[in-house]
């Protein structure tokens, strides 16, 4: 079989270039319930767009994230992310740094057609002097892969906003629901880089943590690349 008729690097390059042409203003990151293999790394520069459900035509909040993740063991994964608020009028108000630990609770062999449930703990800090907000988040993720390359995922996040590192009160939490998928652009192999595209759509009951907020719609579309790893 000629290599030319298989999916190759030039295909990937062209897809990325087309995404720049049509989606240069809109690109994001996304994570499934499956943890990375031990020693495997993942890089995903990406972006989230959040629009008010009541004033849909208003200028959305746009956040650009750059995240790095690494598989610690078969069930544990650590991630760090920097989120830059690129909404012009916001003066980087929602820019933040994040760290998280993900634990895969089921299907540790990562078999296809078997559900994967994971949870974890996320801490974030919006470092703008006018914001200064700490985030404490508990996510629950559910994925089931019909094929090795396709991973639809449902995600729920319970999030508390506080002035201090540890939330003094567990009131008015934010609830995020997201439904999406991740698709590998090439056949999976431990020796090869694994480029992926991802899309998700979801709702968030409030961006500022206020109960008066009418709610936010979230749109995600982005790229992700997982590094090769060794099988132990």
């Amino acid at each position: 079989m000629k290599k030319q008729f298989q999916f190759n690097k030039l295909d990937l390059l062209f897809i990325c270039a087309v995404a720049i042409l049509f989606l240069s203003c809109i690109a994001t990151t996304y994570h499934t319930a499956e943890t990375l293999h031990p020693g495997q790394g993942s890089l995903s520069p990406g972006y989230m767009q959040a629009r008010s459900t009541e004033e849909f035509t208003e200028t959305p909040v746009q956040l650009l994230g750059t995240s790095g993740r690494i598989g610690i063991s078969k069930r544990f994964e650590f991630g760090a992310e920097h989120v830059l608020d690129i909404s012009k009028d916001n003066d980087h108000l929602f820019s933040s740094v994040w760290g998280d630990l993900k634990v895969q609770l089921s299907n540790k062999d990562k078999l296809i057609r078997k559900p994967i449930i994971s949870t974890g703990f996320m801490k974030g800090y919006a470092y703008h002097e006018e914001a200064g907000v700490h985030f404490t988040t508990i996510p629950i993720l559910f994925s089931i892969k019909p094929t090795a390359r396709f991973a639809p995922t449902f995600q729920y996040r319970l999030e508390f906003l506080s002035d201090g590192f540890i939330p003094a009160e567990l009131e008015d939490p934010r609830h995020t629901f997201a439904l999406g998928f991740e698709y590998s652009l090439r056949e999976l192999s431990p020796e090869k880089w694994d480029p992926r595209i991802a899309f998700s759509i979801g709702t968030l009951n409030s961006l500022s943590g206020s109960s008066d907020d009418p709610g936010i719609l979230l749109f995600n579309f982005g790229f992700k690349i997982n590094t090769p790893y060794k099988i132990k």
Binding site: L13, F14, K88
Partner: protein, 192 residues
């Protein structure tokens, strides 16, 4: 009519651009439906592809021998300018956005030529070529015959941009279809 065109163009092109009101160009009191970077990126891509229709196949194949990673540098100009501006290391202006966007659009056009040549895809099918030519004629008609080009300059620009984005989309989709066809044909042949 202007309000309807403004509404439809903003809704449709809003799918591919953030339309940040603080940076979009305002012409005759109406904002353009694409930000300066997207405007020049799509224009650069369109002009490059249009110019490729006019040159010989030999020259196009010569262009296709350029290393794609050199093209990547051209494409990344907008990203570099955007990152520098976001970290306050460079002050973006409309001119800098237009120039870097044009470089990126041209780079993506060049990558399309390289991609098509190396993956054995026809530069353009007869149907796509006809649509591009027809769209070109429509654009000229809109610009110079249908409405007063000066009085309705914003309307002309909006229609022009919408048409350019549509043609660019068509070219990219055709390329993907032809590529998929080649892959499926090869897979069928292998299975047989």
């Amino acid at each position: 009519m202007i309000e309807s065109v403004e509404f439809i163009a903003h809704k449709l092109l809003g799918l591919i651009c953030h339309q940040d009101p603080s940076i979009v160009l305002v012409v005759q009191g109406h904002p353009l439906p694409l930000c300066p970077r997207c405007t020049s990126m799509h224009t650069g891509f369109f002009i490059f592809i249009l110019s490729m229709c006019l040159i010989s196949d030999e020259f196009r194949l010569k262009l296709a021998r350029i290393n794609p990673f050199v093209v990547l540098l051209l494409i990344s100009v907008t990203g570099i300018e955007w990152i520098l501006a976001n970290y306050h290391l460079f002050s973006s202006s409309t001119v800098s956005r237009l120039l870097t966007g044009f470089c990126t659009g041209t780079g993506i056009g060049l990558l399309l030529i390289i991609y098509q040549a190396r993956q054995s895809i026809y530069f353009m099918t007869t149907l796509t070529r006809r649509i591009v030519i027809l769209s070109g004629i429509c654009l000229l008609f809109i610009l110079f015959m249908l409405v007063d080009p000066i009085q309705y300059f914003w309307l002309n620009l909006t229609l022009l941009l919408s048409n350019i984005v549509f043609i660019n989309f068509l070219i990219v989709v055709t390329t993907f279809i032809l590529r998929a066809q080649g892959m499926i044909r090869n897979l069928t042949y292998t299975l047989q």
